[in-house]
């Protein structure tokens, strides 16, 4: 007897739909936050306490904070803007283009006659570029399809879909950079270390939320 055989009909799970039962997910999330909240609190309290105890520590923190925040903000915004550009131009090869771009930027920076401080500050933009391109690439293609069908485009799509989805990772990166910006000259690595811890925790929680 001829004619193609129909393929067996089997129910398919919805890959994007939550797989774990609601109750077990709630318990897992609850445990996660029970661990994370004390850790974050401890890190902040310890950082402030050490800064207060060290002679001149609080003044140094106050002086370094605006510059560190400005530097981290600049690096984050510049890195993310470059990532958006790369992702738009080469959505499938974004990571490789970003790695290439990062190497070129670092190389040019080394050759340039810029001051050491400015050089170091600009050289971290590729780091934020790579982080941002990773975050943009992690948005499932299905969400982009859904957004297209929902008529979301341009600034509206960026504001309501893209930015909220990459924000946790961007924040983690920004905190990491702010922590690093405290290091030069004043020897207050301890603050950086604690902020690094916070950064890791934020990233961890972002990851956990992503898993749903």
């Amino acid at each position: 007897m001829s004619g193609p055989d129909p393929q067996p009909i089997a129910p398919t799970p919805a890959p994007n739909a939550p797989a774990a039962p609601l109750r077990s997910r709630a318990i897992r999330n609850c445990c996660l936050w029970l661990v994370l909240i004390p850790l974050i609190g401890l890190a902040i309290v310890q950082t402030v306490a050490v800064a207060m105890k060290t002679p001149g520590g609080w003044d140094a923190v106050q002086q370094a904070t605006p510059a560190a925040l400005a530097e981290a903000t600049m690096q984050t915004v510049a890195g993310f803007a470059l990532a958006l550009l790369v992702h738009r131009m080469a959505p499938r090869a974004g990571l490789w283009v970003a790695i290439g771009l990062a190497l070129v930027v670092v190389y040019l920076m080394a050759l340039s006659g810029l001051s050491h401080g400015l050089q170091r500050s600009l050289a971290w933009i590729p780091f934020m570029l790579l982080l941002s391109i990773g975050a943009l690439g992690a948005i499932p293609a299905a969400l982009h399809d859904a957004a297209a069908v929902d008529r979301a485009e341009g600034w509206f799509k960026f504001r309501t879909i893209t930015l909220p989805l990459v924000l946790p990772l961007l924040l983690a990166g920004a905190i990491f950079r702010a922590a690093d910006a405290y290091r030069p000259g004043d020897g207050r690595v301890f603050i950086g270390a604690h902020l690094l811890l916070i950064s890791a925790i934020v990233a961890g929680s972002a990851l956990a939320r992503g898993r749903g």
Partner: protein
């Protein structure tokens, strides 16, 4: 727009991915307010067809029209077509209400209208209790319902459903088939649904298009396709219980079953098989009757189906199935006399697989 006007038209649309042809030249027209189901196995080209209509993929060749306007080069954002994906997609950072509101926010609908429409859809789909929940806190069924709601909430030109019932349990699935049809009847929206499940198709569609390997095999009402399948593939695919197939050869005014040399009188006009020695009789279980004047078979295993039973009967070297009422248990090995309903016999060319327009005459 009059009800008979086409809302969606595909003219010679093809889609190739490298050497693989996902959609062979496809011509398709969906009327205003019609519920059309694309039915076929996985990899048959259903999802690709929906994505081409939505504008998520560009055809390799051919033209697509929506409301008499050619939209082939138009991006999805400009087509105003709502789509429910096979893997339900929700924005993870937005609540259920936020997800429902997003397509209208993108369409710059006034806030009070958005609020009212979201309330209506939440009420209609019984999602009030999860309105403020984030998608990760929804069950798979609720997840797909919200995904459906996001399509319903808009005044779209057409609705495309890609296996929308795949995430539901059997019980929910049955309910949701009715819901989908009710929603369609309420909105009178032009709808194209892709599914692998014949029951989904039969219970919801105005018209079924059976599609396999990117080609349309048959397009007709569910009853017409069930009663008169165009080929062996369609005959096998459609129906809750498999059609019986018996190999036969053509004789003078009769078809002779190979399994038992039983002669069935036929009126073989209209088409000739490629090889007269290779034809196939297709007959659904409900057209195989128990009849004291019938031919001899031996009962095999019985499968209870609740309201009735499906029994295997050995007819010579072949096995066929028929239904018996729940009370009428037939022990295995018992002699059973059966008759084929002439009106239920379908003849196929076993070489090409195509249906033959032959009529079967009652045996005297």
């Amino acid at each position: 727009m009059s009800p008979n006007e086409h809302r969606i038209e595909l003219h010679g649309v093809t889609k190739r991915f490298g050497d693989f042809t996902a959609v062979a030249p496809l011509d398709l027209a969906v009327m205003q307010g019609e519920f059309v189901v694309l039915l076929g196995p996985a990899g048959g080209g259903k999802t690709t067809t929906l994505r081409l209509i939505a504008g998520l993929d560009q055809p390799s060749s051919g033209r697509i029209h929506l409301d008499d306007l050619e939209v082939t080069p138009m991006p999805a954002q400009r087509r105003n077509v709502a789509m429910v994906f096979q893997s339900p997609v929700l924005y993870p950072h937005l609540s259920v209400a936020g997800n429902l509101a997003l397509p209208m926010r993108a369409g710059r609908i006034p806030r009070n209208v958005i609020q009212r429409r979201v309330d209506e859809v939440v009420e209609r789909l019984k999602l009030s209790h999860v309105r403020r929940r984030k998608p990760r806190k929804l069950s798979p069924g609720e997840y797909q319902l919200v995904s459906l709601g996001r399509a319903m909430v808009r005044d779209a030109k057409a609705f495309l459903y890609d296996e929308p019932l795949a995430s539901f349990s059997d019980e929910q699935r049955d309910h949701m088939r009715g819901e989908l049809r009710a929603i369609h009847d309420e909105l009178r929206a032009t709808t194209v649904m892709a599914t692998r499940d014949p029951i989904d198709a039969i219970t919801t569609a105005d018209r079924i298009i059976v599609i396999n390997q990117g080609r349309v095999l048959q397009s007709d009402t569910p009853q017409a396709i069930y009663d008169h399948p165009a080929d062996l593939f369609v005959a096998r695919y459609l129906g809750e219980h498999a059609m019986n197939f018996l190999e036969a050869r053509r004789g003078e005014g009769v078809a002779v079953l190979e399994c038992c040399d039983l002669e069935i009188p036929i009126d073989a006009r209209g088409a000739e098989p490629v090889d007269p020695a290779r034809i196939t009789l297709g007959i659904r279980p409900e057209h195989v009757r128990l009849d004291p004047r019938g031919v001899n078979t031996v009962a095999g295993p019985t499968r209870p189906l609740g309201s009735e039973q499906l029994v295997d009967l050995r007819l010579g070297k072949a096995t066929i199935r028929t239904f018996v009422p729940p009370g009428g248990h037939i022990p295995e090995g018992q002699r059973v006399l059966i008759r084929f309903d002439a009106a239920g016999c379908r003849w196929f060319d076993a070489t090409s697989g195509k249906a033959l327009p032959w009529q079967t005459r009652e045996r005297r």
